[in-house]
């Protein structure tokens, strides 16, 4: 009974997840642009192509996936090896583009002769990571209180996103100002260089022709 329940849980947990195919040494990266202090939960499940049955095996032991997560400053936040099914979590400390990369680290390379690995992936960000039944049970909330709690979490996420927007707009403004400055200084410098080289050329050639007694 418990086995059936856990099987159903497993199946239903990933029944609705998107999947894609990945090659043996291929690295697939996904970008999540998130504000700071945002939680991200990723779940994946892998299936290997079985040439004999001509279908994907339900799960393969010995098949691992390496998950690497980098923050906007390209510093590694998480770099771990997981099994054929895995769940990874991280909370962002800087706002920006975080990169989540997956690549397989198969121990039995021979199995990969078919070359296809099916990866089911589900990445949830921010308030979607909240487990409302668990929160309701822990804090003993009524249905109405739980709904209000969900609304509060959503509004919190909106506020964080707007703060992040302000930060991005500031960066954009600084980049534009910097380009403006650079173009201005370059125009002045270019004019100066032109004038200086022009004057130098004239003087040099004049002294050269005078030395040659042509002038």
């Amino acid at each position: 009974m418990y086995i059936t329940r856990s099987c159903l849980t497993q199946i239903l947990m990933f029944r609705r997840a998107l999947y894609f195919h990945i090659g043996e040494t291929e690295k697939k990266c996904f970008i999540e642009e998130i504000p700071d202090e945002t939680m991200v939960i990723g779940k994946y499940r892998t299936q290997l192509w079985d040439k004999q049955t001509g279908s994907f095996l339900p799960s393969t032991p010995g098949l691992g996936m390496h998950v690497e997560i980098k923050d906007p400053d390209t510093k590694i936040v998480l770099s771990r090896q997981y099994g054929s099914d895995g769940r990874f979590t991280f909370t962002s400390h800087t706002p920006g583009e975080h990169q989540i990369c997956l690549h397989s680290n198969s121990t039995k390379m021979a199995l990969f002769a078919g070359g296809k690995l099916r990866v089911h992936l589900d990445i949830q960000v921010g308030e979607h990571t909240n487990n409302y039944p668990e929160i309701a049970a822990k804090d003993k909330l009524t249905e109405l209180q739980l709904r209000v709690r969900q609304l509060l979490d959503q509004v919190d996420q909106i506020q964080k996103e707007q703060n992040y927007q302000r930060y991005r707009e500031e960066r954009f403004r600084m980049t534009s100002e910097s380009t403006n400055q650079r173009v201005l200084w370059w125009s002045i410098t270019q004019t100066l260089i032109l004038l200086v080289t022009g004057v130098w050329q004239m003087r040099h050639l004049k002294s050269f022709f005078e030395a040659k007694k042509l002038v």
């Binding site: 159903l8 849980t9 998107l18 996904f30 409302y132 969900q150 980049t175 080289t197």
Partner: protein, 217 residues
Amino acid sequence: FSSYHTTTRLLLVPVLWAQLLCGSVWGSELTFELPDNAKQCFYEDIIVGTKCTLEFQVVTGGHYDVDCRLEDPDGTVLYKEMKKQYDSFTFTAAKNGTYKFCFSNEFSTFTHKTVYFDFQVGDDPPLFPNENRVTALTQMESACVSIHEALKSVIDYQTHFRLREAQGRSRAEDLNTRVAFWSIGEAFILLVVSISQVVLLRSFFSDKKTTTTRVGS
């Protein structure tokens, strides 16, 4: 009958909890990089009668366009657009099975693109395991539901705004680095050209000088 009922209830509760553990929205939202001349496909198993929405937007790269194609389990093309920047397509699944959607950058020779897509399948599952769904929602609860829907659309607009703004931002940063490299490059070229002009002119006149001295002596 009562034992069957209890078993189903015992099975149903963890099953619903498992569904809810996945998050309150049945949707996948991903941003990935599509290299030049590449095609990336995603698959999803959908039940007949489910209303689904596929939305995509090209975030960075080239002319911000990508080919998109959505096929049903029998291979019938439900949606096909070439070189589109962003679009949204809603359909109701007519068959059970695996639906496939692909993004292609095969027309581009050297620009790789970043594509964002959001694939929503069905409606949100309810917040609570439904044991008392027979009773209608109270006024407060329905107010909460409508606020929730409104906030979801606010978050959706924010996402699309962020993606649009990311396009402008990456162009501005590109421009900034290009201006820097170009300025240094052009200064260097100017100096090289002006010095070589003088050297070349000098070389013309030094040949003439040797010929004149030979003639003179």
